[in-house]
Amino acid sequence: MKLKFKNVCKNYGNQVVLNNLTGVVSNAKAIVIIGPSGGGKSTLLRILAGLEDPDSGKITLNNHILPKSHKDIREYRKQMAVVFQAFNLFPHLSAIDNIALPLEKVHNFSKSESINRGYKLLEQFKIEEHKDKKPNQLSGGQKQRVAIARAFALNPEVMFLDEPTSALDPDLTYEVLDAIKELKRNNKQLILVTHEMKFAREIGDYGMFIKDGIIFESGEANAFFNNPKSESLKRFLDRGM
């Protein structure tokens, strides 16, 4: 995955969320974005995923250029997939229909193909026994695995995960982390915002530390995690241990 962004700014009202971010990642399979809450990580992720426009700046992800026009953004979103902190499953649809609906309506699979593919994915993420349950009947960890399966089903070029375990009990976290590792095993390109430092080290091959709307440090995972240069990243990692 190649990612380049230049002078990316984003304000909400008077609040500066992203303050002129610039960065280059030339070759990574999994970029992990870490940093304190409210620092701008999720906003950057949503901008990269094409869900929000930056106020200014230009972004290149692989061979896509952002921001895009209203018309092109849908094509871009179709090629990407996002997993949210709060799962965001559709509450009126069963687990399998949550996966099948976008396949059928957005990616033009037939209904039976969509269901088949949905079932295979539920199997892959070990939740096939819950296929007919509505989201409210699933545990947080199961919901998030359905959401991951739904995103993965679209065969996206890049998968974005926005704090996928933050809303979960600690003992449910591992099953979702396992599911994310499954994505990595399937050679998916990932961009991941997380508070799970141990997991970030394990899965990431490129790290980015964002605080107060600024990238304090970024680089190859090994050096980034084991030998941080900036004081603030050092302190953040020490506290996260």
Partner: protein, 261 residues
């Protein structure tokens, strides 16, 4: 509180159907007794046979009210959906048009609106059929309330659902069709069927422009047979035969769309 008393009169999750029916029946009996007592006090003898000669007239009027109700509800749903979408539009003229419409309709009496439509708008546009006009007036009136119901439903769907649908690449139409509206319908169904019942009852006001619906016909019969109590009792019952099935249907649909969030 006495245990047996509680068991019979206080509802909990173990209360049986039998005990519920008993309480329901008691409430009904109390109401009926009040009614019977009142009738007894004024020393009136009910004679429903006086209505019989007008059977066909009543059936026709009943059908008219039903048809007006159905067509104006369809109209109100269309107007309500369009206006609710207008109200959320980024185009200001649409937004303000919708706002103005809601304020005007909800802020003025229905009776005034009927006359206004009948004497000014219908005349200006050469609309002569009172039944079509009646449906339009009712649809426009009810549409304002339906707009607010649908708007409330749309606003109750959290942004995360929109974000999620956007991220999956749905078009705006698909997003509303497959993700947003199915959730909205479930939430607004009780309010919407309530509005449908109100609409059926409000159709009685169309008698002021001589739309020959149920209330108008019963009042006509009243001026012939002078059995006011019988006539009005029948009128009430006839309206109930429309509105109670609507309530039952509503409960059924609610169960069908039921899911916890």
């Amino acid at each position: 509180m006495n245990k047996t008393f509680r068991k019979i009169f206080v509802e909990d999750k173990n209360t049986s159907k039998l005990i519920k029916s008993f309480n329901g029946l008691s409430a009904f009996v109390i109401l009926a007794l009040i009614f019977i007592f009142s009738v007894y006090k004024i020393n009136y003898k009910f004679d429903f046979s006086s209505i019989l000669p007008y059977k066909n007239k009543i059936i026709k009027a009943y059908a008219t009210t039903l048809m007006i109700g159905i067509f104006s509800m369809i109209g109100a749903l269309i107007i309500g959906t369009v206006m609710a979408i207008f109200k959320r539009s980024k185009y200001m003229i649409l937004k303000y048009f919708s706002k103005l419409y809601i304020e005007l309709i909800r802020g003025t009496p229905f009776l005034i609106q009927i006359f206004f439509f009948y004497f000014i708008i219908a005349t200006a546009f050469g609309l002569n059929n009172k039944y079509i006009l009646g449906c339009i007036i009712l649809a426009v009136f009810s549409g304002a309330y339906v707009t607010e119901i649908i708007r409330g439903g749309l606003e109750s769907i959290s942004m995360s659902q929109h974000l999620s649908a956007d991220s999956l690449g749905f078009t705006i139409f698909q997003k509303y069709r497959y993700v947003i509206f199915p959730q909205v319908i479930k939430r607004i169904l009780p309010a919407l069927t309530g509005q449908l019942s109100t609409l059926i009852k409000d159709s009685s006001l169309l008698s002021v422009i001589a739309v020959s619906e149920l209330s108008m016909n019963i009042l006509e019969i009243d001026s012939l047979n002078f059995h006011t109590f019988e006539n009005l009792t029948l009128l009430g019952i006839l309206y109930l035969t429309i509105t109670i099935p609507i309530s039952i249907l509503s409960k059924k649909l609610e169960r069908k769309y039921h899911y916890e969030t």
